[in-house]
């Protein structure tokens, strides 16, 4: 449904061009939930913004194709925004216009995309509110009277109102309480399954990936490190970075009491100083000579790592 080929996003910085996304390619299939995971600054949100066409100067798409239902959208995303692809952002406390009721905001979005009369739109908006778990009586309430979790429910209703076939959820639960996070994720998952809407779920939380997604793509320094079925990637990671991410995830079980949490050594390089070769090699426990010299392509349609080049499947 959504195909991305060789996408480059450049950052112009004092006259020079820095690659923020480098040669990114992946697909999203109808009805699936694709997780996009990586450290802060790896380019997760930027990928989302690039798809929906909200990349702004000093960033720009410099190469590559974004194809949605066989149409190229990287230059005219306006026509698809909302109606076909919509996006949910991280902080629900600032995602709604504080001066207008949630009803007004819903009706506005609905009527922008669907040819509804005022009454029909209000009916539809109320049924959406019901679906996301907000009483219809709150239709005329202002955003500040809702809690963070409730506001994120309103945002979900807004994003799903025009019946898009893809929702990009950019860390939709990071700003919420742990107990609320699960509710919101389940709600999003349920509503999208019912509508056969695909989700790109951007997160840095491996636990969320494990519970929610069908497939997962791991980003590192603007490049795709590994992609595959969530089950396979989490159980048999092929890229040392993925392995590190999984090991660095906190666990709650008897064995882990008082044990030290694994850390990936070093930090992700600054965009200006991404090393030649594999961007991860300076932090990689198993790098070989080739890693320092040549950047690995995606091998076996799975991971960008030279270690896969030797035998079939490693780690």
């Amino acid at each position: 449904m959504l195909e991305i080929y060789n996408l480059d996003v450049n950052l112009s910085y004092r006259g020079s061009q820095i690659k923020a996304l480098d040669n990114l390619s992946f697909n999203v299939y109808p009805g699936e939930i694709l997780g996009l995971v990586g450290e802060s600054g790896a380019g997760k949100s930027m990928t989302g913004l690039a798809i929906i066409g909200l990349i702004e100067a000093p960033l720009s798409i410099s190469r590559g194709k974004i194809i949605f239902n066989k149409q190229r959208i990287e230059q005219n995303a306006n026509a698809f925004r909302g109606s076909k692809i919509s996006m949910i952002f991280q902080d629900p406390l600032v995602s709604l216009n504080p001066l207008r009721t949630i009803g007004e905001q819903l009706v506005e979005t609905i009527r922008t995309h669907i040819k509804f009369g005022r009454k029909e739109a209000i009916e539809y908006a109320k049924s959406l509110l019901e679906e996301v778990g907000i009483e219809q009586e709150r239709f005329d309430a202002y955003p500040h009277t809702f809690s963070g979790g409730m506001r994120q429910r309103v945002v979900i209703a807004l994003a799903l109102a025009p019946k898009p076939s893809l929702v990009i959820a950019d860390e939709p639960t990071t700003a919420l309480d742990v107990s609320v996070q699960a509710q919101i994720l389940e709600l999003l998952k349920k509503l999208c399954r019912e509508r056969e809407t695909s989700i790109i779920l951007i997160t840095h939380d491996m636990g969320v990936i494990a519970e929610t997604t069908d497939r997962v793509a791991v980003l590192y320094s603007g490049t795709l490190a590994e992609i595959g079925k969530t089950f396979e990637v989490l159980n048999y990671p092929q890229h040392p970075y993925t392995k590190g991410l999984i090991e660095a995830t906190p666990r709650i079980d008897a064995n882990s009491l008082n044990s030290k949490l694994y850390q990936i050594p070093g930090v992700m390089p600054d965009l200006k100083e991404i090393p030649v070769g594999c961007p991860f090699h300076k932090r990689c426990p198993r790098y070989i000579k080739k890693c320092v010299e040549i950047k690995p392509p995606l091998l076996n349609e799975r991971a960008a790592c030279w270690l896969l080049d030797n035998e079939k499947g490693l780690l």
């Binding site: 909302g82 995602s95 216009n97 504080p98 207008r100 979005t109 922008t112 202002y142 994003a159």
Partner: protein, 314 residues
């Protein structure tokens, strides 16, 4: 509170700038005459009683007689007030309307040639003194082009309690130049404020969400961004309306506009103390009223403030 302070200042001017007895009777009055007048004016009473009397009569809009024309000050001011208010309101409307429009335009089309042109030429509006702008406008439009009158209000229609220049052609024409002169500074200020606030608001997450929901630019600018910049803009516009009334003095002098400001200037020439103190009180009063209205509009605009209000009343 503010009004009380302003009243105190105008009272002090009234009481102590020059001697009212001298002013009224002149140098050759006899001691008996002076004593009689002091008695009549209450000048031999203790000072706080005098202040109290002054307040009581001010509330009743009673400021005594003008020294010069021997007319009641209240009547004098009332007859001049419509001219000033019409001028102030017109120029404020002009300033706020064009200020907001141009502010939004320059914020949306940031960096374009026209925006930069508007912004740099608006600097002229701030840096040139009001009287110079007035004189320049008169020179261009009245002297050289002979399109618009250079002084006075033109024909006015008397509605009994109000005289208006809005209803006649010459009245409207005479309003144009003074309003531009008076409103230019406000326009520049409102424009720069609108632009800065707009740029700030357009960075907010709810604007990004609105874009990602596929709303049109028009919807985003006018229904999402504009309401959110209104509070600072109205605050400044309100303060400015007060100073428009106060600084109408200069414009009224340049254009010989028969308003309260011109009355005040003439009062200063002739040391007509009652007129001066009444004028001060009037301006103070206008400021207070305008700020009250501004505070009330906050509540109208922002539901969050509305709810706080309700909570504190409960």
């Amino acid at each position: 509170m503010v009004l009380l302070l302003v009243a105190l200042v105008s009272f002090i001017i009234f009481r102590y700038v020059g001697n009212p007895v001298d002013n009224i009777l002149g140098q050759e009055a006899t001691m008996a005459q002076r004593a009689a007048l002091e008695d009549a004016l209450g000048l031999n009473q203790p000072i706080y009683l005098q202040y109290f009397d002054f307040l009581v009569s001010a509330v009743q809009f009673e400021f005594g007689n003008s020294y010069r024309g021997a007319l009641p000050v209240a009547e004098l001011i009332l007859s001049r007030l419509p001219a000033t208010l019409e001028l102030a309101v017109t120029s404020a409307v002009f300033g706020v309307f064009f200020g907001i429009t141009l502010g939004i335009y320059t914020a949306i089309n940031r960096g374009s040639f026209i925006s930069n042109f508007i912004l740099s030429s608006s600097l002229i509006g701030v840096s040139l003194p009001t009287f110079l702008i007035g004189v320049l406008l008169i020179w261009i439009f009245s002297v050289e082009l002979n399109w618009l009158p250079s002084f006075g209000r033109g024909e006015v229609i008397d509605l009994g309690w109000w005289t208006t220049g809005f209803l006649t052609m010459s009245g409207l024409k005479s309003l144009i130049l003074p309003s531009i002169t008076l409103g230019l500074y406000q326009m520049t200020l409102v424009m720069r404020l609108t632009r800065a606030e707009m740029l700030e608001v357009l960075k907010q997450d709810y604007i990004r969400l609105a874009y990602s929901l596929g709303l049109t630019n028009k919807q985003i600018y006018f229904f999402h961004a504009l309401p959110n910049i209104l509070i600072p803009v109205i605050t400044i516009a309100g303060l400015q309306l007060g100073s428009v009334i106060a600084f109408a003095i200069i414009t009224e002098t340049v254009f010989q506009w028969p308003g309260v400001g011109l009355l005040f200037i003439n009062a200063v020439y002739y040391v007509d103390i009652p007129v001066m103190s009444a004028y001060l009180l009037l301006v103070g009063f206008a400021f207070v009223i305008i700020n009250l209205i501004v505070d009330l509009t906050y509540i109208l605009i922002d539901p969050r403030l509305r709810d706080n209000q309700l909570k504190s009343e409960r």
